[in-house]
């Protein structure tokens, strides 16, 4: 056959094929589908009924009841916290005699400092031996640590950061202290600190507080209610000052709390409501910062017309030794390299033997650009402490800790590191079309939330993030490590794909077009469309992305297509404010570990509630959400710890039964701390009410003389230029 003939035959055949395809597509094939559709329409009610029956049968066959939430696995290195009543941890009383390190006595002899008795208050804060893990200590030694934040300055009351990572905890003092609450057996209230006692009036509207009498700032100036009043009126209440917690935390039912000074050592809060006991947590470290009135008042724009608020904020620069009340005083700072803190010779705490605290002479913070540097430095032996909060570093740290020559040990705290999936429960905010409405209605249906919960293979996800006993499934609700957690209240809808599929079928979802993805039922606004949902993860938390990937596979197997989008925190914030999200994976806040300090975040009380935010239209709370709101509000003002626990048990039951949000896994924060440190409380959590430095009570930490390492600035105390 010649080439031209071949070409002709090929062209004819091609034409025939194309014509056949066109005919088939444009009309020729009409009759068959039409014929097929007609009986389908007629048979639709019957088929739907049959499907419903099938779904009901499937539902009846599948066990949809929650399973029992298991006990946690014990991890090597976890110890029980030794809980004690407050009066076995500390007290305030005068002792017969006081002592100090020898080198400080030499400074007293030289006339640089007044004698220790004159530097201490009338009744110092006494740390009791019964509350110490290793007993009364000896002087000397260094704590080497690491900070990955720039030091802006020391005007903390005006929002300046000293560099975090423990610097604030070492240098500043507050009225009360929340960090060590985990050690209390008698109550879940903050511990006294600068305020040594307080009393509610009978009607609960007044709280009278007594501050420690005769305590002094690190420059020797007396600390009085003048400082408390200045910190209140000119820092917290002044709207132009960027105080860490502004006035809004003190507004109850649209009325502002008042602070009234009674004398040099007594003042009272006057509240618009009765017994707002939750406000005790507004007086702790980081919230009610006590600023030195004698230093800052003359520089405050209200009293000095030459100053503006920007200048005022910078009034305690990082290169000048600040006047503080904490155990240690920053005496030297080299930008981005090093900060040296030395013992505060005016610190107002002692041990039972009368030794002025702290025991350690020096704290050194190396500076670096990233928090990982702290773990690396601890592994390499140049830092004495790291918080293990990133599961990806757990294994290497443990391996190093197990070596014979390791200078640090690792201890695991309670289970308070949780990740969960949230569904947007708002019916209006961020809703743009019918599909969005259908999605939000679906999220508000308990069956769908249960279906998602049943779909998650929590153990698989936990093991894919970190092999071993570090992580385990979590139902949502309170963290298992919370003091308020009661395992019997948990409704745990753990991995059960059959149950998940049955619930989706019961909701009417079916793969009608055979593409492997479920289609919306006819009676929903998104009728016929594929069930495709958007899930946002966080660029800043790697584990959220693993959860996102797992959700794609696990829900994908059930016919729910999940599109994952990682966003950075700024983009997530914008997205949350606009309400333009469907599902998201969160690393959860400490609200579920220490609910009382953040009780208004437990349920949609505030308009900005995390996953049911109110927009311009009123929010439609589901019945169980309203129950959670009522419980949380009652919890916020309940002074009795036992009743608070009962309220939280009820809260946890309603939250998990209704799958308020979908818990995925929970783990523990780990503490890596130098073996040479004594008096670190057993089982101390890295993060509970606060972080390590606040929890450990650094004034009581000591090091045996043979294990002490060289100080960078031996013999130095903070000094101040006389004005």
């Amino acid at each position: 056959m010649s080439r031209s003939k071949k070409r002709t035959i090929f062209l004819i055949l091609s034409l025939l094929i194309v014509t056949a395809m066109l005919v088939n597509a444009c009309g020729g094939g009409d009759s068959e589908p039409a014929a097929a559709e007609a009986p389908a329409e007629e048979a639709a009610p019957a088929a739907a009924e049959a499907e419903e029956e099938d779904a009901e049968e499937a539902m009846a066959e599948v066990d949809l009841s929650p399973t029992e939430y298991p006990e946690p696995q014990l991890i090597v290195g976890s110890r029980e916290v030794q809980k004690l009543p407050l009066d076995q941890i500390l007290t305030y009383k005068a002792l017969d005699s006081y002592s100090e390190p020898e080198w400080v006595s030499e400074l007293v002899a030289e006339g640089v400092l007044p004698p220790v008795e004159e530097r201490l208050p009338v009744e110092p804060r006494v740390i009791l031996e019964s509350g110490m893990a290793d007993g009364i200590g000896v002087y000397g030694g260094v704590w080497r640590d690491f900070s990955a934040c720039p030091t802006e300055g020391y005007n903390r009351g005006a929002g300046q950061s000293a560099g975090w990572f423990g610097i604030e905890a070492a240098a500043y003092a507050s009225l009360l202290k929340s960090g060590p609450i985990y050690r209390r057996s008698d109550s879940l209230e903050p511990l006294p600190y600068l305020a040594k006692s307080w009393e509610w009036s009978e009607d609960g509207h007044e709280l009278t507080m007594s501050i420690i009498e005769g305590a002094k700032w690190s420059d020797g100036h007396p600390f009085t209610t003048e400082d408390v009043l200045f910190s209140w009126e000119d820092m917290i209440v002044d709207p132009n000052v960027q105080s860490p917690k502004g006035a809004s935390a003190w507004i109850f039912e649209d009325q502002m709390t008042e602070l009234v000074v009674i004398d040099d050592y007594t003042f009272k809060f006057v509240y618009p409501v009765a017994f707002p006991v939750q406000s005790l947590f507004q007086m702790d470290e980081g919230d009610f910062h006590i600023s030195p009135s004698h230093i800052l008042k003359p520089l405050h724009p209200k009293y000095n017309s030459d100053m503006d608020y920007v200048d005022f904020e910078a009034a305690m620069p990082p290169d000048k030794t600040p006047v503080v009340l904490g155990e240690f005083v920053p005496v030297e700072y080299i930008t981005d390299e090093l900060m040296i803190l030395r013992r505060n010779p005016y610190y107002w705490g002692v041990d039972e033997a009368g030794n002025q605290l702290p025991y350690l002479d020096e704290v050194v913070f190396e500076k670096g650009p990233s928090g990982v540097g702290r773990t690396l430095s601890t592994l390499a032996g140049s830092a004495d402490h790291s918080n293990l909060e990133n599961p990806s570093t757990f294994i290497e740290t443990l391996k190093r800790a197990e070596e014979d020559d390791a200078h640090f040990y690792v201890e695991w705290g309670p289970e308070t590191l949780g990740f969960s999936i949230k569904l947007n429960l708002s019916t209006t905010l961020g809703v743009k079309d019918d599909r969005d409405s259908a999605v939000r209605e679906l999220f508000r249906d308990l069956r769908f939330r249960q279906a998602v919960s049943f779909a998650l293979d929590r153990d698989g996800i936990s093991q894919s993030i970190l092999r071993g006993p570090f992580l385990r499934g979590w139902a949502g609700g309170l963290f298992p490590g919370s003091s308020y957690f009661d395992r019997s209240t948990v409704a745990y809808y753990n991995h059960n794909p059959e149950a998940s599929a049955a619930l989706l079928a019961d909701l009417g979802f079916e793969d009608t077009d055979g593409d492997g993805i479920l289609n919306w039922p006819a009676d929903r606004l998104a009728s016929g469309e594929n069930l495709v949902l958007a899930l946002v993860t966080s660029e800043d938390a790697e584990e959220t992305q693993t959860v996102g990937d797992a959700a794609v596979t696990l829900l994908g197997d059930l016919g729910v297509q999940i599109n994952v989008r990682p966003l950075n925190s700024a983009a997530r914030r914008e997205m949350n404010e606009a309400g333009e999200w469907e599902m998201r994976v969160d690393r959860d806040s400490q609200t579920f570990a220490v609910p009382f300090t953040r009780c208004r975040e437990l349920a949609p009380i505030e308009r900005e509630f995390s996953f049911h935010r109110e927009g311009s239209e009123p929010r439609e709370l589901l019945d169980f959400e309203q129950e959670l709101v009522d419980l949380a509000l009652a919890f916020c003002v309940e002074p009795n710890t036992d009743i608070r626990k009962e309220l939280m048990a009820e809260y946890n039951q309603i939250s998990t039964e209704n799958v308020h949000f979908i818990g995925v896994f929970v783990g523990r924060y780990g503490l890596a701390a130098a073996k040479r440190f004594k008096n670190v409380p057993a089982g101390m959590p890295v993060f509970m009410y606060n972080w390590t430095w606040e929890n450990v009570m650094p004034e009581q930490v000591w090091v045996a003389p043979e294990e002490q390492i060289d100080q960078l600035r031996p013999g130095v105390i903070p000094t101040y230029e006389s004005e």
Binding site: P150, G246, I340, K367, P369, S377, A380, S569, A570, A571
Partner: protein, 342 residues
């Protein structure tokens, strides 16, 4: 000639202004601003309510001019730079950006120069060594190693080296220029004791910075080695070298007195424009190792949208690049009569 220099200079100023504008715009492209990060921080770490954090963030924006339109922010930044010599204010450090950069610039340049010297010295020596041994095993092995070092990403080498330092050698203070005991020692040479301490501080410095110098330096060896090798081969085949050999000079003398000095010319010419590349070389290694150089400052400021630091760092890199080119152009114009000025 003067007209040429003035023209080139004017163009350079315009280019620098363009770089400033583009850097400023690029930095603003990611969603949000520094105050957003501050707001998140207040909620997550400070325990503030969302409304309180939002109020504080807005106060922050108002106080530091972040609520103004972008063109105004840009104008104020350029105006203050020209009239007051101020590079702006860092939100994270609450300090003048110029001071921050001035603190880090000397050590950044130190690292860059050391890395550059390493790559040049090793490259030249290797080039001289392999040129007379063209296509030998030594030539091929040297080329293979140099290209591997050049091809491996520097951040990867830095990561591997850091792992080795921390886990195998257990070297302390990997993310610092000095061990803490030397940070507080001043550089002083007034007395024997001071000089001894300063020497110890220098040794400590070298113990800390060698990884960056090695990583950044060895990456550039391949280029210098190949250039030197090529030049050497050209020179060794030139007639004047044959003449030198025919005069009875030893091969060593021929190399030292004739071939090497002439082969070095292109490498020396290249030094004028090399500064920006040197800085880029140390950037990756310093970031991974966390050393406080301009590189890490730039990265953290880009992350938290501390815009004036980021824009100033980019501007400085831009100025160095433009200045290097300007100097090279002018030098070439002075030295090479073939360059036309119009």
């Amino acid at each position: 000639m003067i007209g040429f220099i003035v023209r080139r200079f004017s163009v350079s100023v315009a280019v620098v202004l363009g770089i400033a504008l583009v850097s400023f715009i690029v930095i603003q492209l990611p969603p949000g601003d520094y105050a957003d990060g501050y707001e998140s921080f207040l909620i997550e770490q400070g325990g503030a309510t969302e409304s309180e954090a939002e109020r504080q963030a807005n106060l922050f924006r108002e106080r530091y001019g972040l609520d103004r339109p972008l063109p105004i922010q840009f104008y104020v930044w350029i105006r203050d730079m020209v009239t007051k010599g101020s590079f702006g204010f860092s939100f994270a450090y609450k300090r003048d950006v110029g001071e921050l950069i001035a603190e880090r610039l000397p050590r950044t340049l130190l690292l860059a120069v050391l890395a550059h010297l390493t790559s040049t010295a090793v490259g030249i020596i290797a080039g001289i060594f392999v040129a007379p041994r063209q296509y030998s095993i030594a030539d091929n092995v040297a080329a293979f190693i140099a290209f591997i070092l050049s091809a491996l990403p520097r951040f990867w080498i830095a990561l591997a080296l850091m792992f080795f330092l921390v886990f195998t050698l257990e070297q302390e203070h990997v993310t610092a220029f000095h061990s803490p005991q030397y940070v507080v020692v001043p550089w002083a040479f007034g007395s024997v004791e001071e000089a001894r301490e300063s020497w110890a501080k220098l040794v400590d410095l070298m113990q800390h910075i060698w990884p960056v110098v090695v990583i950044a330096g060895l990456g550039g060896v391949a280029r210098n080695m190949r250039v030197m090798r090529g030049n050497m081969l050209d020179e060794l085949n030139a007639q004047y070298v044959t003449t030198a050999r025919s005069k009875g000079l030893t091969e060593g003398q021929v190399m030292r007195r004739h071939a090497v000095p002439n082969a070095l010319h292109p490498i020396i010419m290249y030094q004028g424009t090399v500064l920006p590349y040197m800085l880029q070389g140390e950037l990756q290694a310093s970031i991974v190792l966390g050393l406080p150089t301009i590189g890490t400052l730039l990265l953290t400021s880009l992350r938290n949208e501390d815009i004036y630091i980021a824009a100033s760092c980019l501007l400085i890199y831009g100025v160095l690049l433009v200045a290097g080119n300007l100097i090279a152009d002018i030098s070439l114009a002075v030295l090479d009569p073939r360059v036309r000025f119009s």
